[in-house]
């Protein structure tokens, strides 16, 4: 893999979709981000990130069944594609590789920090 075309926020969203494992749609992704990182974000930002990821081929989506909680309007669930999970892995490996090369005493003692 040569160059991964993934922004910081996109990566975050992609990770959340992976975490949510089949239950990822606009709001659940937003809430997950808010809970895990304490960032305040707008729902429309999540949607555009999801759309972008889908057009890049990292996500696929399907429209779920109607539920009563939102006035019968359907949800669009996202899943990570093979390309998406490859990319996540690649980024992770690359990061780890780079982290390991930082010289110092506390090598490997710091927990992995998500940015």
């Amino acid at each position: 893999m040569q160059r991964v075309n993934l922004g910081e926020f996109e990566e975050l969203v992609l990770l959340m979709v992976a975490i949510l494992n089949g239950n990822a749609y606009g709001i659940s992704v937003m809430e997950e981000i808010e809970n895990q990182t304490e960032r305040k974000i707008n729902i429309s930002a999540v949607h555009s990130a999801l759309d972008r990821l889908e057009s890049k081929g990292f996500l696929k989506s399907e429209v779920g069944g109607a539920t009563t909680e939102r006035g019968g309007r359907r949800k669009r669930f996202f899943r990570v594609t093979v390309a998406g999970s490859n990319t996540l892995n690649f980024i992770r490996e690359q990061r780890n590789k780079l982290h390991e090369q930082i010289p110092g005493f506390d090598l490997g003692l710091n927990p992995y920090v998500s940015i």
Partner: protein, 856 residues
């Protein structure tokens, strides 16, 4: 909005309600919705990016530019022709929208009406407004105006002669929209001797200080400036530079019902109908005007007067915004005319059509050359729709380029157009967003119309045939093209014909016997300002060796003379309005009018104070064999004896017939009856050198009056002025016919070039077989000549009809049944067409046939 997005927004909202207040949840909900506004989230537009239109249009654009550049000659002619037409249209659109915008800036303009005396009488009685307001609940407010007049102001030691002055009631600002910069609008015109100035005038009088509250001198009176208002816009029928209050004298406050001295404007309450008020005015007139009128008519009551066949008095309402265009004689200083709007529109339309025809012709003419391209595109899978787009983009490109050139042309010719239209447009008016939008719409329509024929026609080709070169026979195509060219010729011939008739008529009028000799007559204005010094002034200039005679009058020839009612003193009284001029006894020799019978009255003879002199028309109306000694009455005991008859003379424009005319005596000192002075004008016949004499007379004037500038006009110029509008008409036709011919020639030139190119082989074969250059040239020429004649057949009847209508406005007309008037334009257009086509056909015919035949 998409269902999924909508769902998310709602879900968030419901969740928030649980934790936050409803209000903040709602606020956040709206914020989310706003943030969601992206093109792809809107229902129905989900696929916006998947359509390839934009890329395709980029391609159309590129192809269009290439095809225009490949055919530079055609493109240049096309764009130039169209831009000339558009430039003319742009100017005319500017003119028309300006004309239609008159007075629209007034608040509630639709409720404001001008009261006309009878059907269209300008002047109304003094008490009409106030009485109407008292009697009719429909009338909310009224204002009386007089003007426009010129007035001389003395500010400190400086004299200013200012025009466009009006007098008005204090309710002025409640009808008209005026913006007071200084002063209280409600109190500005309450007291006599108050004046409101426009900002420009205030700055002129008092450049360094505020004009408000200052005092200026007018005719020896002190007048206080009680307000300064913003200059009124140019597009008003009533463009004032100052407004004075009315004095509290009885002529202004009471007046009488038969004396019409004011313009009255009324504002109706919202929803009131003009017809209802007009209906009520019938009884109103009977109640107030009737009784006073019968005093003069000699009937015992108004009813009897009506029974006797008298016309009922009435007042009608004219919407204020119609005054400029539909009732120009009632407009206070603006010179509009709905006919001008029609004529200008027609001219613009014609020129645009000629330009469009060029456009269409050239596009269709090139169609066969492009048929291969169309065939190839179709073979490669182009849809018909896409081809149509391709051609429309191309024609839009041409018309948009023409638009840019057109704005340039229009800016360059703005000054000339201002003269033509008698308006003061500036470049910024021209480039105003409003005008530009109109022009853009026009251009798009032209592009679409002119482009649609080739677009639909070309895109319909069958690819196989198109590629084989068998374009669907050019028959229908050529017929249309020829028809369009013939139509262009028709318009050109029509415009040339109009030009010719207008100029002939103007020349004819210039040569008409007027019955008087206006050359060398000087009219000195405002001589009433001389007052008692008139006699001295008159003596002084009479002694000048370069002056042959001097006459004092109350009005002057060519300047509009009022009429007075007179009636005969016989058993069956007949009444008529006569043009009535007060004059001293030197009139005939000064103005050069011939005496036919009797004598002119004399200043010396005391008994001549009731003597009158009439013209031939008046004599004819009276119908007496022996008219000298007969008497006419003005009613209420004023009787006049006819002492002489003069030959008919034109005292106004030759558009009107000579009317019955009466001279009344004015004393040497300018008094006409008792103490009333009316010596407004002094006419001087000059026999020597003009310029030095005028200087000497001006010197004499300055000796007598200090605070009034010397103002004069030459009678001949003043008569000349009467046909200003018609000369403008002539210039308009010259310019437009020139433009039309130029555009048509451009088109013809390109078309001829194209036709010759296509017939190159035919001509070469003919030449090889022995045809002469001459016969070959004639071959091509005869084609186009036929078209000129078809055009002539169309144009001549229309031209005859239109010009007959125009001539009807003149009492003295040229004979329109002169074949030369019609042959000359046809010949002119034919010659121009021959020159345009002939040159090229000669060139082709002279060319070496080998060159044409060699390549296959």
């Amino acid at each position: 909005m998409l269902e999924i997005i909508e769902g998310d927004a709602y879900e968030l909202f419901y969740k928030r309600i649980k934790t936050e207040s409803v209000r903040s949840a709602k606020r956040k909900f709206w914020w989310d919705i706003l943030r969601f506004f992206r093109l792809k989230y809107i229902k129905g537009l989900e696929d916006i990016n998947s359509l390839n239109n934009i890329a395709m249009f980029k391609n159309y654009f590129k192809i269009s530019v290439r095809s225009l550049l490949r055919q530079k000659f055609f493109s240049i002619i096309n764009i130039t022709g169209l831009s000339l037409g558009l430039a003319a249209c742009l100017l005319i659109v500017l003119y028309i929208s300006n004309e239609l915008s008159y007075d629209n800036y007034h608040k509630d303009v639709n409720q404001i009406y001008r009261v006309a005396n009878g059907q269209a009488g300008n002047w109304t009685p003094a008490r009409l407004g106030i009485q109407s307001k008292m009697d009719f609940p429909e009338i909310e407010e009224f204002v009386r105006l007089s003007g426009p007049y010129d007035q001389t102001f003395k500010v400190g030691n400086q004299l200013f002669k200012e025009s466009r002055g009006f007098s008005a009631d204090s309710s002025f600002h409640r009808l008209f929209t005026v913006q007071f910069l200084e002063g209280n609008p409600d109190q500005a015109l309450n007291a006599p001797n108050s004046i409101v100035l426009t900002n420009t005038l205030a700055k002129k009088f008092f450049p360094n200080e505020s004009a408000y509250g200052q005092v200026v001198q007018v005719n020896g009176n002190s007048i206080k400036i009680t307000g300064v208002v913003a200059d009124p816009p140019k597009n008003t029928h009533f463009r004032f530079s100052f407004i004075e209050s009315y004095p509290n004298e009885d002529w202004a406050t009471i007046g009488n019902w038969t004396g019409n001295n004011f313009f009255t404007y009324v504002k109706l309450v919202k929803g009131a109908s003009k017809e209802a008020v007009e209906e009520k005015y019938l009884d109103f007139a009977a109640k107030y005007v009737g009784p006073e009128m019968v005093k003069y008519s000699g009937h015992s009551s108004y009813e009897e007067y009506l029974k006797d066949g008298g016309t009922a008095r009435a007042f009608t309402l004219k919407p204020m915004k119609d005054l400029h265009l539909y009732y120009p004689h009632m407009a206070l200083g603006s010179s509009g005319n709905i006919n001008n709007v029609y004529v200008f529109s027609a001219v613009a339309f014609f020129i645009l059509i000629i330009a469009c025809v060029n456009f269409m012709n050239l596009s269709t003419a090139r169609s066969s050359a492009r048929s291969k391209e169309v065939g190839m595109r179709k073979v490669l899978g182009s849809l018909r729709k896409q081809l149509i787009y391709q051609f429309l983009v191309e024609s839009m490109l041409i018309s948009l380029s023409a638009l840019i050139l057109a704005v340039l042309f229009a800016s360059l010719s703005l000054n000339f157009f201002n003269q033509l239209a008698n308006r003061e447009f500036t470049i910024s008016d021209l480039l105003a967003l409003d005008t530009m939008i109109k022009l853009l719409v026009l251009v798009l329509v032209v592009g679409l119309l002119a482009g649609s024929y080739p677009a639909f026609y070309l895109s319909g080709f069958q690819p196989i045939k198109a590629l084989k070169g068998e374009v669907k026979s050019a028959g229908g195509n050529a017929f249309l093209r020829k028809g369009l060219v013939a139509f262009q010729f028709a318009i050109s011939i029509f415009l040339v014909l109009c030009t010719l008739v207008v100029f002939n008529q103007l020349q004819f009028i210039g040569k008409q016997e007027l019955g008087l000799n206006p050359a060398q007559v000087l009219v000195i204005k405002n001589t009433d300002k001389l007052g008692e010094k008139l006699g001295a002034f008159k003596n002084q200039i009479s002694q000048n060796p370069n002056v042959s005679s001097v006459v004092v009058t109350n009005q002057y020839l060519s300047g509009g003379i009022s009429n007075y009612g007179y009636r005969t003193m016989e058993e069956n009284v007949r009444a008529n309005d006569f043009i009535n001029l007060f004059s001293s006894d030197e009139f005939l020799e000064t103005v050069g009018v011939q005496l036919l019978e009797g004598r002119f009255f004399s200043n010396e003879l005391a008994s001549d104070s009731a003597s009158i002199v009439i013209n031939e028309k008046a004599k004819a109306w009276l119908g007496y064999d022996e008219v000298i000694g007969k008497r006419l009455s003005r009613g209420d005991g004023e009787d006049y004896t006819i002492v002489g008859v003069v030959k008919d003379f034109n005292f106004s424009s030759l558009k009107s017939e000579i009317e019955p005319f009466i001279f009344r005596r004015m004393g040497k000192d300018g008094r006409i009856q008792g103490s009333w002075k009316a010596a407004n004008y002094v006419l001087v016949r000059v026999i020597g050198d003009y310029q030095s004499t005028v200087k000497q007379i001006e010197g004499a004037w300055k000796n007598q009056v200090a605070d009034e500038p010397f103002d004069f006009v030459f009678l001949e110029d003043s008569f000349h002025q009467l046909y200003e509008e018609d000369r403008r008409f002539g210039t308009l036709f010259t310019a437009s016919s020139g433009l039309a011919i130029a555009i048509a020639c451009l088109g013809l030139f390109a078309l001829a070039a194209f036709t010759l190119e296509r017939r190159l082989k035919e001509i070469a074969v003919r030449k090889v077989l022995g045809a002469s250059v001459q016969s070959l040239t004639m071959l091509v020429l005869s084609d186009f000549t036929k078209l000129v004649f078809i055009g002539a057949i169309l144009a001549i009847p229309v031209g005859y009809w239109v010009m007959n209508g125009w001539l009807a406005s003149f009492a003295y007309q040229i004979n329109l049944n002169n074949p030369l008037l019609f042959l000359a334009p046809v010949l002119l257009v034919a010659i121009i067409a021959w020159l345009t086509v002939g040159f090229q056909s000669m060139k082709t015919a002279l060319g070496n046939p080998i060159k044409a035949l060699r390549s296959e």
